[in-house]
């Protein structure tokens, strides 16, 4: 690993040396103006000279040239014997002197005409100026589009300068790509090899395609140095892209797994403790998301300045609200059904039907609109094509925090001790004086609250509507059963496994087939090991 790194560093140094701007030579303004006022050949000479020197010219020279070029292209240039006049509109009686800015009559002056043959050169020069000095990304992008048409005539220094000065990330990437493409197809072999090395420094899928296309270039067969450079560069880029894609798969799998885990963690506690299949868990997630929406609206009304913080403020609200709903459901319905788990399954299905339709009637069926705070929008490109998006990182961090907190509650608090005792042996726990019914209720509240938290984590990623919960129920039950009932670690491992498998299979055979394969795999696995990966030993 050290050698490629060292080579990279060396390359970087060389590049840095190459791109150090030469001492900015000022533009010969009078000569430039004279060229534009001259005949067609002079105009082309002036425009192309500007493009060639463009990478080194100071900004005020570029602005000066831009003004003249614009006036020429729009027929607002007037050429008296001594210098040039910029008119406000074609055929205006007077204009500003290009050098001094003074107002002068244009009556006696000649107006140069831009011929069709010269227009391309002049437009390229205008585009170069716009690209280098445009006030906003849109203007620079327009300039870039013009330059792109005659990219072969534009020197690398111009594109390098534009790239280094660019602040807009998307435009910067476009300029980089264009500069690389231009250098790669340059007639100068040394420059091409340097370009290949430069492409290899910032690998991406696009760069890989660009390099791979060069294999069909005649120089690849003819020039051994070129072939070596290309093969080395391509190998570097391919490896980097593969690593980047691998990272992206891991990242996506991790974020999918954390959502699965969030949805399944509450189920695992409830199912492990009481043997109750809570088919309303998906709807509890939905309620958590709606609670988040409520918090957002409250912030919008009461404290618009703090709106960005609503997602954090929603965490305790969603947990508390959904936990209360869960405790209510337990107290009103499930309490009577502990001896009949299959009936409690139907009862929770009825609750889920009720909740979905209640939300549908009171709030509506449309997707809720969420404000995306800065900390969950956008992302940072890390390596090759791998972009770490903040909203998925939010979900992953959220799931990790939930895991740690839940483990702490289960392992380090009196409630957790009670829950574990009842999970392992309900009758013995009751004999020892534990209030099992009260523990059931609290644990059900905890499990429901976790579903509410999952709802918060989902807001920046999924579309939130009354039916959103039904998509989770089968997956999360598979995760709970696969992990082993009553084992939070098992749930975590199962979620990671299912999430990873889904993401791994998806590019090979499509999303639906991936889901089918994973579910069939779980069904088969459970035939071999019905108690799941991590079975809690218990006596009944």
């Amino acid at each position: 690993m050290a050698d490629p790194l060292r080579a990279l560093l060396a390359l970087l140094c060389c590049l840095a040396l190459l791109t150090v701007p030469a001492a900015a030579a000022p533009l010969d303004r009078a000569r430039f103006a004279a060229d534009l006022c001259g005949d067609g050949a002079a105009q082309v000479r002036g425009a192309e000279g500007l493009v060639q020197a463009g990478g080194d010219l100071p900004a005020d020279d570029l602005a000066f040239a831009g003004g003249l070029l614009g006036a020429l292209a729009e027929r607002r240039l007037s050429c008296p014997a001594d210098g040039a006049l910029l008119l406000d509109r074609p055929d205006a009686p007077e204009g500003h002197d290009a050098f001094t800015g003074a107002v002068r009559p244009a009556a006696a002056a000649r107006a140069p005409i831009l011929g069709l043959r010269q227009r391309a050169a002049v437009e390229t020069a205008r585009g170069t100026v716009a690209l280098l000095t445009g006030p906003d990304p849109a203007a620079r992008a327009a300039g870039l589009a013009v330059v792109e048409r005659r990219i072969a005539t534009v020197p690398a220094a111009v594109l390098d300068r534009a790239r280094d000065a660019e602040t807009d990330a998307g435009l910067k990437a476009t300029i980089t790509g264009l500069a690389q493409a231009a250098a790669l197809s340059s007639p100068d072999p040394a420059r091409r090899r340097a370009a290949i090395a430069a492409v290899a420094v910032s690998p991406s899928g696009a760069a890989q395609a660009r390099l791979a296309a060069l294999k069909n270039d005649p120089a690849y067969a003819a020039d051994p140095a070129f072939r070596t450079a290309l093969d080395t560069g391509l190998a570097t880029v391919s490896r980097a892209v593969a690593i980047g894609d691998g990272l992206a798969v891991v990242y996506n799998g991790l974020s999918f797994a954390s959502i699965l885990f969030m949805a399944a963690a509450g189920l695992a506690i409830i199912f492990g403790l009481m043997g109750v299949i809570n088919l309303a868990q998906g709807e509890f997630i939905m309620l958590g998301a709606y609670a988040t929406y409520g918090v957002q609206e409250a912030f919008r009304r009461l404290a618009p300045g703090l709106l960005d913080l609503y997602l954090l403020a929603a965490i305790p609200v969603a947990f508390g609200a959904v936990a209360l709903v869960g405790i209510g459901v337990e107290a009103l319905i499930l309490r009577h059904l502990y001896r009949r788990p299959l009936m409690s399954l139907l009862a929770t299905w009825a609750v889920s039907l009720f909740l979905v339709n209640l939300v549908r009637v009171t709030v509506g069926t449309q997707n809720l609109q969420f404000v995306m705070p800065a900390y969950v929008s956008g992302g940072v490109p890390l390596y090759a094509d791998f972009v770490m998006t903040w909203n998925r990182l939010f979900a992953i961090a959220f799931a990790a925090a939930t895991l740690v907190l839940t483990l702490l509650i289960l392992r380090r608090t009196p409630l957790g001790l009670d829950i574990r005792a009842v999970t392992q042996n309900r009758d013995m726990a009751a004999c020892l004086g534990l209030p099992t019914r009260r523990i059931d209720r609290l644990a059900f509240g905890l499990g429901s609250g976790l579903a509410g938290l999952a709802g918060v984590a989902l807001c920046p990623i999924y579309s939130v509507n009354p039916g959103m919960g039904s998509g989770f129920i089968v997956d999360s039950f598979m995760v709970v059963v696969l992990g082993g009932v009553g084992s939070l670690i098992g749930t975590l491992v199962a979620a990671l496994g299912v999430g990873g498998a889904n993401v791994l299979i998806e590019p090979i055979s499509g999303a639906v087939a991936a889901k089918v394969i994973v579910l069939v795999g779980i069904i088969l696995f459970l035939q071999r090991r019905p108690e799941g990966l991590f079975a809690v030993r218990r006596r009944r």
Binding site: F271, G275, I277, L279, I333, H336, L337, R339, R340, P341, L342, M343, S344, L345, L346, A347, W349, A350, V351, L353, F354, V356, N357, L358, V361, S470, I473, V474, F477, M478, V481, V512, A513, K515, V516, L519, V520, I522, I523, L524, L526, Q527, R528, P530
Partner: protein, 366 residues
């Protein structure tokens, strides 16, 4: 079918006597036969006939689930799968029959750009083959899934969850358009039934009568079955499987046999249902529908075959009526009904009547 009942009435001995003691089933069978005769003699408006036929198909489906849930303690949340197998094979038969008679390819085949029906449709235009195929396919799927599950003693809520995942997987698969079975649009536009134009009053009445007669036959047959020694073994297995196994009975074989029988009955319901509604699509495989079947059984009365029929007809009758009259209110009524039954009437609506020849408090349905 009435033959079976007559036999039961004529020879009040052994299992048949117990069947006679079930006036609910006998009454329902009689009602089905009477309704079938009534439809033939003086058919009411076609939409009513059609609704009656659909209700009968749902009732058959409910009986199939009650057989495994009420009598064996196995709650399947995937019975929609077997219903859909019957329905899809039936739809394939109707389309293949249409192609054989008219030569016009169905819409979805044309959408896919195919020139003919896929190769595995061969022979499906023959009704007996299609019927055998549907039942065999449902039985086979049930056998494989049941064998794997029962051998490794997957039961209780685990079995429910896994069967739900199974029907969910099937739904995802059928939503794909390249299966050759219509994809997400499903199959519709059936032209003919045994050469008769679909939707003509005669065909509608015929289908409804067939569904009612089948329901009567299934009801009587399953009631006879649960009256035999096998039926008593089923109840024993439901109440304490370990003890039954310790006594030397193979519970795996028992459960597997009844499970496959139940799957085939569900497929029969699908076969009867699809020509009546004129469409089949993957929504039949939605997990919600499979849960709803369990709801019919629970509402009517779990563990009594007549209760399953009453539950299916009551819930679906209400649904037909209310989803037209006040569609907003229907889900609330359904969930309220479920909660009421689950909390207050543990044996379903039959508790209201106070009719209880044999207490079937479900202490065993773990």
């Amino acid at each position: 079918m009435s033959g079976a009942v007559q036999t039961a009435l004529a020879a009040p001995a052994g299992p048949a006597r117990r069947a006679v003691r079930d006036p609910l089933v006998a009454g329902l069978v009689g009602l089905c036969l009477a309704a079938a005769a009534g439809l033939l003699v003086a058919p009411p408006a076609p939409y009513l006939v059609n609704a009656l036929g659909q209700l009968a198909a749902f009732a058959i489906l409910a009986v199939s689930l009650d057989l495994v849930w009420g009598y064996l303690g196995i709650l399947s949340l995937g019975h929609g799968l077997f219903f859909a197998i019957g329905g899809y094979v039936c739809a394939m038969h109707l389309l293949a029959h249409g192609v054989a008679v008219t030569g016009v390819l169905p819409d979805f085949v044309q959408f896919m750009g195919w020139k003919s029906l896929p190769a595995y449709w061969v022979g499906l235009d023959h009704a007996p083959y299609a019927l055998v195929l549907a039942l065999a396919l449902a039985g086979l799927v049930a056998f494989v899934f049941g064998l794997a599950s029962f051998r490794s003693r997957v039961n209780g809520v685990y079995f429910s969850i896994i069967s739900q995942a199974l029907v969910y997987v099937a739904m995802l698969l059928m939503y794909r358009n390249d299966t050759g079975l219509g994809g997400n649009n499903g199959m519709t536009g059936f032209p003919l039934l045994f050469g008769w134009p679909m939707g003509s009053p005669g065909v509608v009445t015929g289908l409804a009568v067939a569904a009612l007669l089948t329901l009567a036959a299934i009801l009587a047959g399953t009631r006879l079955l649960v009256g035999t020694a096998i039926g008593r073994r089923m109840l024993a297995c439901r109440d304490d499987e370990t003890r039954l196994r310790t006594l030397g009975y193979s519970t795996t074989r028992l459960k597997l046999g009844i499970w496959c029988l139940s799957a085939m009955i569900a497929a029969l319901a699908g076969i009867l249902y699809v020509p009546q509604v004129g469409i089949i699509n993957p929504r039949v495989l939605a997990p919600d529908l499979s849960i709803e079947i369990a709801v019919w059984v629970a509402i009517g009365g779990l563990g009594r075959l007549g209760g399953a029929v009453i539950g299916a007809i009551l819930v679906n009758g209400l649904k037909f009526w209310l989803s037209a009259a006040m569609p907003e209110a229907w889900p609330f009524i359904l969930s309220g009904l479920v909660l009421l039954v689950v909390l207050v009437l543990p044996n379903g609506l039959l508790d209201l009547v106070g009719w209880r020849p044999r207490p079937t408090w479900l202490r065993g349905a773990r």
